[in-house]
Assembly symmetry: C2
């Protein structure tokens, strides 16, 4: 029997941030695809769409009118999943029936007044304004007594359930720390207590030595495919300095965050020469009033496409009932991404 | 401020099987949907499709020929994610880079020679043959030294990534216990040690008293919407007797499992009068050679549709980065399902 090699053989990999494993089947990308094929939408949009609820000056779905904003703009989601005035309370019936009221705030952030743009097509100086608004919202919401966690994210593309192509993101700020971040809180805390450094600082430094999974880099941030990626082209942006939230970033670092966000999403668009769908979001320290030296600011990108602009990876069946499974290695995905140009295909 | 009411107010609910919480936003189903709409495929198929890889007598994708099977048929997946001859081994570099080889067997189970059928349209006596084959495979695979868990599941519908409409399911049998079942192993063990009864026995008895979330029932099984459901119309089938795996079922119970599988999937099809997509699978005791009195056999159903035959729930953004979130209550979903006829809409 030959030697185990994680580039060739089926295996599982450990995700130290969640404490969970992922199944990797490197050989499986060879199987022919006969399943559902997504519509690839030709992405030519006007700069202003009179029917868009997010364009400046237009009426929103809830009846309000958007101001004629010139760069970025945030407002309360007209269909918030979390509400501010939820009565506090619990329901408990034995060990098996437990419910607790949950309150919070949901906001929408318009990234640009220009309906036709996406992050990879925006100028770094304009993405920087998005970063500044994130900082402002994280501070304002996080300072509130009733907000323990501020989740900033972007759903991009209709195959990610995004209902409006206008460049925008969301914030869901809740009293309690959500599931995924509470896993990361625990693992990072344990690591920090053991090593006196953040987990992602050590991880990033190892990756920078190994080089294999690094996609892009500037003075303050690195974009890479994590060793334990689940989605085919899953990536992370990690800050080089161990900062626990956005507010610790210097002026220069904020611009560098905008820069790496643009670089990574250009690579994504260039991969299949299509506006690349993903869910992305920042993970940072809870706003529960405690110090969180263990927390290391990072951003996750979870894109669903696998083989082409129209064939996605379905996380179903075994993934839902058993273990998340991927069909190409993190190294294979990194190799394909890092060889791509940093000039957007539409600008060529 | 009024009193907290989990039918009206946003809240989180505890899933005692996974130990995790789900966010419920009852008011949110009111939001208008402007996002992606799925193709609804007119589901008229021939009983035999000469191009189908699963029909009797046809050539398979791997080159082999299917026998002229008359009821059920299982074979090794031509594109298995788990392979038998994987060299054993580990890769470790510090705390942060860990991989372990994983081996196993992937099989496909054809439920019927008739290409046009689906479970809700099959006769109970024929579904019973599927149950018998599950039992046989669970025993044969589970008895092997190198198999610690046998995951039996069905992906149905192209929106669940199912690439062939021929009625079929899969088995992925692995050396290690997968992520989801290992969570359930832990919680069930803890409960059993504390109470001396299986968690799902107590849970089922409470639900049978409350009646609110019960969908269908026969002598041996109950179909219900679990209190902690994540997917809009997520359900479970639970055995009335605390059996830990399929092999403990009596002859009558096997038939009752076929019966409840049919009843539940008829309700599903009748909900939107469409062949209803889902991922479903059995959770039962690991086959690691140990006794598992804590394990209680059950089947999960995770269907993606939310509002209609063409609008699904997207588990993206907040769900991926934060906490799974649902837009209708378990009680609302149960009410809609249980009022449906047990006669299939196509037969009316
Ligand atoms: O095996 P299939 O039906 O080709 O593939 C489907 O089910 C598998 C097991 O749940 C998933 O890993 C695949 O992403 C999905 O497309
Ligand atoms: O808020 P949107 O973009 O309308 O909705 C989308 O994102 C939400 C937050 O991730 C999800 O809960 C929805 O399922 C999805 O369709």
């Amino acid at each position: 029997m030959s030697k185990f090699d994680y580039i060739e053989n089926p295996h599982r990999r450990y995700n130290p941030l969640t404490g969970e494993w992922v199944l990797v089947s490197p050989h499986r990308s060879k199987r022919p695809w006969q399943g559902q094929v997504e519509k690839v939408i030709e992405d030519v949009r006007p700069s202003h769409d009179p029917k868009c609820f997010l364009c400046p000056g237009n009426d929103r779905i809830g009846g309000e009118k958007n101001p004629n904003y010139e760069d970025v703009y945030s407002f309360q989601n007209d269909f918030s999943a979390l509400l501010q005035d939820t009565p506090k309370g619990k329901f408990e019936d034995g060990d098996l029936f437990k419910a607790e009221s949950e309150s919070g705030v949901c906001k929408v952030i318009c990234f640009s007044p220009d309906h036709s743009l996406t992050v990879p097509e925006m100028k770094v100086e304009n993405i920087r304004k998005v970063v500044d608004l994130w900082c402002k919202e994280y501070k304002e919401l996080g300072d509130r007594e009733d907000i323990g966690y501020v989740q900033i994210f972007e759903n991009k593309g209709s195959i990610m359930g995004c209902s409006n192509p206008h460049p925008h993101g969301q914030i869901w700020a809740s009293g309690l720390v959500p599931l995924e971040t509470s896993k990361e809180s625990e693992t990072q805390k344990e690591y920090f207590e053991k090593h006196g450094r953040t987990m992602l600082l050590d991880y990033l430094n190892s990756e920078l030595e190994k080089k294999e999974r690094i996609l892009a880099e500037n003075d303050s941030f690195v974009a890479l495919v994590p060793f334990w990626a689940v989605w085919p082209f899953e990536t992370m942006i990690i800050s080089k300095r161990a900062v626990s939230d956005l507010l610790e970033l210097t002026d220069e670092e904020r611009t560098d965050l905008a820069d790496i966000y643009k670089k990574l999403t250009i690579m994504y668009d260039n991969l299949f020469e299509v506006s690349f769908a993903y869910s992305a979001g920042l993970h940072q320290a809870p706003t529960d009033g405690e110090e969180h030296p263990e927390w290391h600011l990072h951003m996750h990108f979870y894109p669903p496409l696998l083989r082409s602009a129209s064939v996605k990876k379905f996380m179903v069946g075994y993934e839902m009932l058993g273990t998340p499974q991927r069909d190409i290695t993190a190294e294979g995905a990194a190799k394909r991404l890092k060889d791509l140009s940093l000039q957007h295909y539409k600008q060529k």
